[in-house]
Symmetry: C2
DNA sequence: TCAAGAATAGAAACCTGTTCTCATTTGGCC
DNA sequence: GGCCAAATGAGAACAGGTTTCTATTCTTGA
């Protein structure tokens, strides 16, 4: 089973184009602007092809989200968090992540909405986002393997993170509340 | 402006019937079973009437959720949380709330999904749910007015609460994880 | 009691996510 | 090169949330 034949290459290209089209539309008008017919047209593929690659609109946005979060994790390898204490480093990482999201409010709203409505069929993608986030947080605490408590703290923080984002994109709170909530929770939980 | 005329009374009855129909359908088959045409038929009103009372399916489920959370808060007045320490009482309250929700998994899934997809137009209802939840938590800590830190802790816990529920209804975690996450977070944050 | 206006019923229409069908193209293989 | 299975394109069709429209019923206030 060749993993690098012409077919696999074309499929990778198509998949990328669909995800790019999704993010472009999401940046323009958020969740409602990501209409499957428009995604297909923008990506230059048929509607059925979009559904062959992503079983639903929700899944499409979740996969886009996975890419974003993993990109954030990768960028932290080049540009490690600053701060002398674990709490400071975690706050730095979280605020940096917030800054990225706040710059793209519409796309963030679309992806968070997909996270908030995830169904069991999408559990795998949700898990990937969640695990990437907790890994980012434990990585900011200190070198080496995180302790059991580290993991519990990171899990709680990633939960505060998700709820805060939901509150923001739902218009309950302003964007600055996300970072403030996270800093408060971090200082109560870390160290 | 008479608040108790025949019109207002009939409207209250209709509103109640619509919410009851919503919860009945949600108990049967969760979010997808709450179909607006079915809600209208079950409540014995026209589809347009449902929309006159609740501007969207999301709002309908959110209002049902508000009722459930406020009922939980009221039931705690009759049956106060047990435990000698603030942390124990908060854990007791949260586990009790979990038990209520786990008994109605389908309806819970429907309402949590509405919470997770809230749009700015529904911010008011989301705020009511969130405030009822934090009031329940601060009320379990101790008598009298909660301190600033109490409020921050309760807010963080209600955020963990929401994310855990989303994880449960999204099939990422089992129902027991909700209570465990909340207990861990509570013991780290309270006292 | 009665007229004016709001509220409701009933049903069609519209929008968008999703599914289905079928003809065509593409890639892998002999 | 030629064949076969899989993938894709193109579009119709379906499903459920939402909107719209008109006739009817109900409430209020004179």
């Amino acid at each position: 089973m060749p993993e690098d034949g012409a077919l696999a290459r074309n499929q990778a290209v198509r998949r990328r184009r669909v995800l790019d089209a999704t993010l472009a539309l999401a940046d323009q008008g958020g969740f409602e602007a990501v209409q499957m017919r428009d995604v297909a047209a923008e990506a230059g593929v048929a509607l059925g092809t979009v559904y062959r690659y992503f079983s639903s609109k929700e899944r499409l946005l979740l996969e886009a989200n996975v890419g974003q979060v993993e990109a954030l994790g990768a960028s932290l390898l080049d540009d490690p968090p600053t701060g002398t204490s674990p709490a400071d480093r975690v706050v730095d990482v979280l605020r940096r992540a917030c800054a990225v999201l706040v710059k793209r409010p519409e796309a963030t709203a679309a992806m968070v909405r997909a996270l908030g409505t995830a169904q069991p069929s999408e559990a795998e993608a949700v898990r990937r986002v969640s695990q990437a986030m907790t890994a980012i947080i434990t990585g900011a605490m200190h070198e080496g393997e995180p302790s059991e408590r580290d993991r519990a703290v990171a899990r709680a923080l990633s939960q505060v993170w998700l709820s805060s984002l939901i509150g923001w994109v739902g218009g309950v709170d302003g964007p600055e509340v996300v970072g403030d909530d996270l800093e408060r929770a971090t200082r109560m939980l870390v160290g």
